[in-house]
Symmetry: C2
Subunit: 219 residues, 2 copies
DNA sequence: TTAATTATTTAGATTTGTCTAAATAATATT
DNA sequence: AATATTATTTAGACAAATCTAAATAATTAA
């Protein structure tokens, strides 16, 4: 099955929006891909014909087994290139997504596997997301919660769910990265903002929106 | 000026066929790009409108100053990725062209320059071709001739002009690579084949076609 | 349960890059 | 110089991916 770049981007976005087994709606996919619902309907028909998704008029989209396999390969390439850019070329985590969005479309298993090997077969990418192996198997992520719902006091940052440059740049500015340890000092009921403290730094208050996108686990 | 992948491939092929200042013909470009002359005419009109080439009906194609600049950037990316694949991922020289053909279209100056730095700012690629720097400047290639026209006896391989997998695989099999030293043992007038001797190896005879594509210089 | 709203699909158009077949221009041959 | 051959361009078509505007289905609210 030879996929175009556009088809690959659709498959990957469907995978992302599925999160388990939820049906993906036309509008959600259009928003995610920054395109129009009419375009999504067109592509849905095509991917359905290619048996990469299950799609019926008005009933939403899910990946077929084959589509899921394809998605995992694309995600693998995306995340490996992100590792390369950070580990080898010293990019920072807010610059890499865009570049990986293009590099992921170079479809060579040999290249992908060599790259993985060269990087030491990493299992998480610079944003804390797991990297599928050559067979599409992914390490189950260790239990983690978003910072706004954490109940333990002492936490470590394990991932960031929103990968927009804006959020990542904000976290950079505040010294928050993967592995950063922090303590919750206070919850403010008024706007659900949270005061946290990083080692060696003065406490700072972050908005609910930020807290929702930082994943953490205890100690 | 934002170029599509197709436009970049055209620009690069025109650059390749120009070799100095020769006018590139419609048919030659069609052959090089494995497409049809009619398609070349269409694209020529477009690139001319974008001022990347000079083109007049029936008068052939040359790159404009801007087109040449664009070409050098693409060539730079192509050859840097080839270096990466060989030096870091242990690919051999006959496997890399195809992959670089895709990687070259990731248009990020920052990525390109970081990659160059990471590789130690190489000035020749795995096929012996010079790599333009960030400003498009290329080391002038040291004087070299094709093996079939060399008159010195003791020679060193400096480049390979035909980058087809077939030729490169042949050279691999015979132990000929960049930097290989060889001696010309005999010219056979009948078919212009050449007998050569590599250190520690029995002499071998290569066809005129092969000899034409191996570039060498004395000692 | 009808009416209003929202979501989705269809119809028809557009852009990009390609093609085939036919027409025309340039070049080579007699 | 006329003719044959080759090179190039044009005309018209097509596939992929997108869009806008209109139609229709599904959902929600009254
Ligand atoms: Mn992408
Ligand atoms: Mn990532
Ligand atoms: Mn290319
Ligand atoms: Mn090369």
């Amino acid at each position: 099955m030879n996929l175009s770049i556009a088809e690959e981007n659709y498959i990957k976005s469907i995978y992302k929006l599925q999160e388990g087994d939820e049906v993906v709606t036309t509008n959600a996919l259009a928003y995610e891909l920054d395109t129009k619902p009419a375009s999504v309907t067109d592509m849905a028909k095509k991917l359905n014909a290619k048996k990469l998704i299950d799609y019926e008029k008005y009933k939403g989209i899910t990946l077929s087994a084959e589509g899921k396999k394809a998605a995992l390969q694309i995600v693998r390439r995306h995340r490996l290139w992100e590792c390369f850019l950070v580990d080898k070329l010293a990019f920072s985590w807010e610059e890499i997504h865009e570049l990986a969005e293009e590099l992921e479309h170079v479809r060579s298993e040999k290249l992908t596997n060599r790259l993985s090997e060269y990087l030491g077969n990493p299992v998480i990418d610079p944003h804390g997301d797991p990297i599928p192996d050559a067979h599409g198997k992914m390490a189950k992520p260790r239990p983690q919660t978003s910072l706004d719902q954490a109940n333990a006091k002492r936490l470590v940052v394990t991932a960031v769910t929103d990968q927009s440059t804006a959020l990542l740049a904000f976290l950079n500015a505040k010294g928050i990265k993967l592995g950063t340890q922090l303590e919750i000092v206070a919850h403010y009921e008024y706007d659900n903002s949270i005061e946290i403290k990083l080692k060696q730094l003065p406490a700072l208050t972050i908005s609910e929106q930020v807290a929702k996108n930082i994943m953490v686990r205890p100690v």
